[in-house]
């Protein structure tokens, strides 16, 4: 694909990324991160993705299966697909928690999520999710990048590439406490998209909140001069840089670096405020569960997500990582996991609503797959990418709505199957992007988030 300047798109982007390039006067005023016009009117301006790493069981949370109650303990009556652990396959296992109906929609939610249950009328359930990865690494990579055989840009990077970001003083794609395993940074990397679209990690799953808070973004705090003195130093540096640019044909790349230094200086002043949750009211901190040791970590993540979204960060991910992989001790550990996230998630939903952010922010909840209807060993469930539940809430999607279904055992998605490619296509559509048109030329062909697949499921849209 050639554009008017005759440069191939990649070279063009490389220059654009350098700041001004050949974009002419407009390029001098804008850079590649300023908000861009979408393909059509967007319903969603920004996304918060609550990622439950490990694979929460759909059967035990949001998709009850009466048949399993009836056939509890019976041998598996259907053909099993490729699974992760072939050993210790036992009989069918009923949900280990009671389900209760909530709200106008009468949505059934298990005792694991009483607080989220209260918000059921705001949720749009996708009960027919399908992925191709049977192991965590593959499943995470596909969920985040669309494929697992190759290294590709993360969905957050694609969104940023397509839309830019609304706040030039903060990174546009932020992932809070991500896991370093199962694909690690590949899950938030920009791959062949220019480096500025990569996600900025705020700590990692192994770190405590207290360790992250002092310097959430690398090198945000000066180890040299600070405050006015640093400005004094920067003025000297920029004077030198301007003289150098003048002596060197006013090379746009040199100008771009002068701007980047200013941006960095501004970011270091503005960003700490965005990450500082101490200013939040007692009521808000309570709403997210920051007052309780159990919910504090994920509550902090959710509250931070709201603060960042509020400030225009395009894509924020929170990770509850890596917790949900219950090949055994399902009862004990799913109970513990849900207790850590239930209140913070409900707090986030209520807070977004109260602040009017629900109308243009989309929350997505889910793991990399669900879990099997049969027991693995005495008290576990194996991975199930063949049919599982995720949900969305907020802008652009129907509220109190249930879409798709798995079979009566909760194993295969059978109704309105929604492959991860479809999820991506639908997400981009909600943000005003045609997933077929958001392409990047690399190694001789145009690449998309949705690879060569993906269809938009308009049925879930409000």
């Amino acid at each position: 694909m050639l554009n008017r300047s005759g440069l191939p798109r990649r070279a063009m982007l490389r220059r654009a990324a350098a700041g001004f390039g050949l974009l002419g006067l407009r390029g001098l005023l804008a850079n590649s991160m300023t908000p861009k016009t979408p393909h059509f009117e967007p319903k969603v301006k920004r996304v918060i993705f609550l990622f439950m790493h490990g694979g929460p069981s759909s059967i035990d949370t949001f998709a009850p299966k009466p048949r399993l109650e009836r056939d509890h303990g019976k041998p598996v009556p259907f053909k099993r697909e490729l699974t992760f652990g072939e050993g210790a396959v036992r009989g069918l296992m009923k949900p280990l928690w009671e389900f209760k109906r909530y709200g106008q929609s009468g949505t059934q939610v298990s005792a694991l999520f009483p607080n989220v249950g209260e918000c059921a009328d705001d949720l749009c359930f996708l009960h027919s999710m399908v992925g191709d990865g049977v192991d965590h690494g593959a499943a995470l990579l596909q969920l985040h990048t669309g494929v697992f055989q190759f290294k590709r840009p993360s969905m957050g990077s694609w969104v940023l590439y397509g839309l830019g970001t609304e706040n030039q003083n903060l990174p546009g794609f932020i992932t809070i406490k991500p896991s370093l395993g199962h694909g690690g940074a590949n899950n938030w990397a920009s791959s062949f998209l220019p480096g500025e679209y990569q996600g900025t990690a705020i700590g990692n799953s192994g770190m405590k909140v207290e360790e992250i808070e002092p310097e959430p973004v690398p090198y945000l705090i000066s180890r040299g001069l600070a405050g006015d003195h640093q400005r004094f130093e920067l003025d000297m540096l920029q004077k030198m840089n301007r003289q150098h640019a003048e002596a060197n044909d006013q090379d746009p790349e040199l100008d771009a670096r002068i701007s980047a230094l200013e941006l960095a200086f501004r970011m270091q002043i503005k960003a700490p405020e965005a990450f500082d949750v101490s200013k939040e009211s007692e009521a808000t901190r309570k709403l997210y569960g920051l007052d309780n040791e159990v919910t504090r970590d994920f509550g902090w993540q959710c509250l931070l997500a709201r603060r960042l979204s509020e400030r225009g960060v395009r894509f924020v991910q929170c990770s509850h990582s890596y917790k949900w992989d219950q090949h055994s001790e399902l009862l004990k550990l799913h109970t513990k996991n849900a207790a850590e996230v239930d209140k913070p998630i409900a707090g986030l939903l209520k807070d977004l609503k109260a602040r009017g952010l629900f109308k243009d922010t989309l929350v997505i909840w889910g793991g990399e797959f669900g879990r099997t209807p049969w027991a693995q060993g005495a008290d576990g469930r194996d991975h199930n990418p063949y049919g599982y539940t995720m949900w969305m809430a907020g802008a652009g999607v129907k509220a109190g709505f249930h879409y798709g279904a798995t079979d009566e055992f909760g194993y295969h998605a059978v109704e309105n199957r929604m492959h991860i490619h479809d999820l991506h296509a639908t997400l981009l559509h909600l943000m005003g992007i045609d997933h077929l048109k958001l392409t990047h030329r690399y190694a001789g062909r145009d690449f998309r988030l949705t690879d060569i697949a993906g269809s938009v499921h308009k049925e879930i849209m409000a």
């Binding site: 593959a138 395993g181 690690g184 690398p218 000297m236 540096l237 150098h244 640019a245 670096r257 001789g444």
Partner: protein, 851 residues
């Protein structure tokens, strides 16, 4: 033959319908009985042999006597698809059909044979022919800075600056070039270029990101090869087929094996449970890397369909896949639910044989001992297990009634009387002791039989895993929490402990001796070797469960022609390596010199260095490309000769500045009307900061993953003083410093580093401890020279960091800045002000951009 003719006539749409809808259906439902060795009813639905359209339709519609598949009717959509195919003629397409069209793209410029250049040809002639005027030369110091950073990645020292300035001979510059090419720093800089291309990293990336503990050996091999100027064709042979090359001694063999890390150290799916898929994904990664790196071709696009833009066929792809699929990828596949193991080769095969023999003897002895132990235990503990109730009862009487002699049970029960599991015993009365004791015996025997079972399971697992060369399960340990009475009574001097028999004791001593004398694991390396040769089929639409026609091993038809010598034995990698560097191969040398040009100038002649196909760019200077490629081959593939040819040209020595009208007439600098101004790489930035404050350690090679005692250690880039290329790189978590500065993903062949200017880079330069410490180091070096005046210090700072003296105005400005800052900072102002001045120089555009 008749079939082939038919096929060419077949419209594409019909064959597409077949490939999309019908073949996958056959693959899923029918091939179990109708392919390979079991071609029931003489029908092979993998190849179409014996296929009769009408009979197939009748069978799938369940209309005749034969109803297929026998397990249940196909879904309606499936039957409709078969019907539609038969209505279109029911023909059997094969990938061979379109082989005939391979000639279509033959005319593409990149596939033409290399032409000899006319006499009198030179780089400058080709470049200047397209320019309106001869470009200006750059000044001497800029040139010194340019070439020193280019060849070594480090700034010229004060001495080097002085001596070059003083040398007015015509050979002054060529002497500098020779000095730099002879420096070991050259291999560290230029080896890094190749490591980008070879997508080297220290871990498997993808799902598990496990460490490659030996990846550093490949890195050291590359650095050494560049420093020794190993002829590049040999360098290529080593990397593709080092394991198959003849060798004179162990060292050469080790080096050749290490080189194949090029193939072995790519990203690898370890947890993929479909191991067959995992193998072909690795094969694909290797095809992608080899074709892009050496041929500038995106051959892996032809995995699922013929290449959309280039005349590369799926048969070309699978002919190459056959080569890599016949190459070892995994050591073994691991158990279901666990990961596969990567293949490592010993650097010294004899040492490995000794080690492995000893290891297996040790395992065999251990197993023998365990078997004997089990037998003894079974015999000796059986009577004991029947007597527990009686012994307890007697002991109770001894303790409470003073009856009989206190035996070892009494002693043990007294010593453990505070243990919870003895509560029932301690509280027993004369009337219920018999029942209590019986209950203990029951509990014990239930625990004991579980323990026996777990030991037996372990022994059989152990034997199996030894046999299959996997990680060994650990001997189970008694679970004192779940079985407190059993664990306490049976081990560590408990009354149920069975004495070791002499034969077990002997076996144990032998085993311990073997363990003690086990030689250390010999040095290993990530390498490939030939595995069993596969009979490769095309996988239709890339689906490994949908085999189409068989393909022999060969190279792409459009490049190697139809008359290729058949590869009959082995994987074919050696043949591949030789073909890559044969004088008839039109691409390898061109692709390579284009990369070298890019590494010298920052921009290539073909600006899509890994894609020379129809969608790639055309060369800006085609004759120059021919000339360089030919000269390179004629010089015996000498990289250093190629460097001299390029560096000593006027083109390399031109100025980076140009008048506006020249810039306007060549806006993208495609004609090389001026020297491209390029931001330094992160290696150049980090290494020169270390060099400037005098803290750079010049130790070469080895690994930072383990310390000198061989223990895994954490690597903190801020604390390491080695050159950046020695920092370990995990694909799953590329050090943020590297990724921020466009290091690339270390997963796909790096064709060129990005050159972004983003805020996170600026934050590093402005705020990081690393840069601040280096600034202080440089300031200290200046201040420590007491003989210098402040103006002389400023001059030295400019020379060190920017390779030029300051103008008088710059000196004044620097001195007044330092004075003003010192005044602003109340305490410790002197060092801090000089540190800040050095920080300004080190974070300046002039420092990070090379002219």
């Amino acid at each position: 033959m008749r079939r082939l003719v038919l096929l060419i006539a077949l419209p594409l749409a019909a064959s597409e319908h077949f490939e999309k809808k019908v073949r996958p259906l056959f693959a899923e439902k029918c091939l179990g009985c109708h392919s390979g060795k079991t071609q029931m009813g003489g029908l092979n639905l993998a190849t179409g042999a014996g296929a009769d359209a009408a009979r197939i339709l009748a069978a799938v519609e369940y209309q005749g006597k034969v109803k297929m598949p026998p397990t249940g009717k196909l879904p309606d959509a499936g039957i409709a698809a078969v019907k539609a195919w038969i209505e279109e003629g029911g023909k059997w397409p094969g990938a061979a059909a379109r082989t005939e069209s391979a000639g279509d793209g033959r005319g593409h410029w990149a596939f033409q044979p290399l032409k000899a250049a006319a006499s009198g040809a030179s780089i400058d002639r080709f470049i200047q022919a397209k320019l309106k005027s001869k470009p200006a030369r750059t000044d001497k110091l800029t040139l010194l800075r340019r070439v020193t950073y280019n060849l070594t990645g480090l700034p010229p020292t004060l001495e080097e600056i002085t001596s070059f300035q003083a040398d007015n001979s015509p050979q002054a510059f060529s002497k500098v070039v020779d000095r730099l090419l002879a420096s070991p720093r050259y291999g560290e800089r230029w080896g890094r270029h190749w490591l980008d291309v070879a997508r080297l990293a220290d871990s498997t990336g993808m799902d598990e990101d496990n460490l490659y503990p030996h990846a550093w050996r490949y890195r050291d091999f590359v650095v050494r090869s560049f420093n020794e100027d190993v002829p590049f064709d040999r360098f290529i042979h080593q990397q593709i087929a080092g394991d198959l090359l003849p060798y004179k001694n162990k060292e050469e063999r080790a080096r050749n094996l290490t080189a194949t890390g090029f193939l072995a150290l790519g990203p690898r799916p370890l947890a993929q449970q479909d191991r067959f898929q995992a193998v072909y994904d690795i094969v694909d990664e290797q095809i992608d890397t080899v074709s892009k790196v050496f041929l500038g071709m995106t051959l892996s696009c032809a995995r699922c369909h013929d290449h959309k833009f280039d005349p590369l066929l799926t048969t070309d792809y699978y002919a190459m896949a056959s080569i890599f699929a016949s190459t070892t990828q995994f050591r073994n596949y691991g158990r279901p639910g666990s990961i596969s193991y990567m293949h490592y080769e010993p650097l010294d095969a004899d040492a490995w044989a000794r080690y492995e023999q000893h290891r297996r003897r040790t395992y065999a002895k251990q197993f023998e001992m365990e078997e004997a132990l089990a037998e003894d235990l079974g015999r000796d503990s059986a009577p004991l297990r029947q007597s527990i109730a009686a012994r307890l009862e007697a002991a109770w009487k001894a303790i409470h009634k003073n009856e009989g002699q206190p035996d070892q049970w009494v002693k043990w029960l007294r010593a453990n009387c505070d243990k919870a599991f003895l509560k029932p015993f301690n509280e027993a009365t004369e009337t219920n002791i018999a029942a209590v004791a019986a209950e203990y015996e029951k509990t014990y025997n239930s625990s004991a039989s579980k323990w026996d079972q777990s030991l037996e399971n372990w022994r059989s697992r152990f034997a199996k895993e030894v046999l299959e060369d996997r990680a060994l399960p650990e001997r189970p340990k008694p679970n004192a929490e779940a079985h407190p009475f059993f664990a306490a009574a049976t081990f560590n001097g408990g009354p149920m402990e069975v004495a070791e028999t002499p034969r077990v004791r002997l076996l144990r001593l032998e085993w311990e001796h073997l363990k003690k004398t086990q030689p250390e694991e010999p040095e290993m390396v990530s390498a490939v070797v030939d595995g069993p040769s596969v009979d490769q089929h095309v996988f239709v639409r890339g689906n490994i469960y949908n085999p189409g026609e068989a393909v022999p091993k060969r190279f792409p038809l459009v490049l190697a022609g139809a008359r290729q010598k058949p590869i009959e034995t082995g994987s074919g990698r050696l043949e591949l390596a030789r073909w890559l560097t044969s004088p008839d191969n039109p691409l390898t040398s061109r692709v390579l010199v284009n990369r070298v040009w890019q590494w010298h100038f920052g921009e290539a002649l073909v600006r899509t260095p890994s894609n020379w196909g129809a969608t790639g760019e055309k060369p800006s200077h085609p004759e120059l490309l021919e000339y360089l490629a030919k000269r390179f081959m004629d010089s015996g593939w000498s990289m250093k000769e190629l460097h001299r040819l390029i560096l000593l040209s006027e083109t390399y020595q031109m100025s980076a500045r140009a008048p506006k009208e020249i810039r306007d007439s060549d806006p993208g600098n495609r004609l090389f009307s001026r020297f491209p101004r390029v931001r330094m790489s992160i290696e150049q930035i980090r290494d020169s900061l270390l060099a400037l404050d005098g803290s750079l350690e010049h130790t070469m090679g080895g690994t930072l993953l383990v310390n000198s005692a061989g223990k895994r250690q954490k690597v903190d880039a801020d604390e390491i003083r080695r050159r950046t290329l020695y920092l370990p790189v995990r694909r799953g978590s590329i050090p943020p410093l590297l990724s921020t500065f466009d290091f690339g993903d270390a997963t796909t062949p790096g064709e060129s580093r990005g050159r972004t200017n983003v805020a996170p880079q600026a934050l590093f330069m402005l705020n990081s401890k690393f840069v601040i410490e280096r600034s202080r180091g440089v300031a200290r070096r200046l201040l420590d020279q007491s003989a210098l005046s402040d103006a002389q210090r400023v001059e030295q700072a400019y020379l060190m960091t920017l390779t030029r003296p300051p103008t008088p105005a710059e000196t004044d400005s620097a001195l007044s800045y330092i004075a003003a800052l010192e005044k602003r900072l109340a305490t410790d102002g002197h060092l801090a002000a000089w540190q800040s001045f050095c920080h300004v120089l080190l974070s300046s555009n002039e420092f990070v951009y090379l002219n």
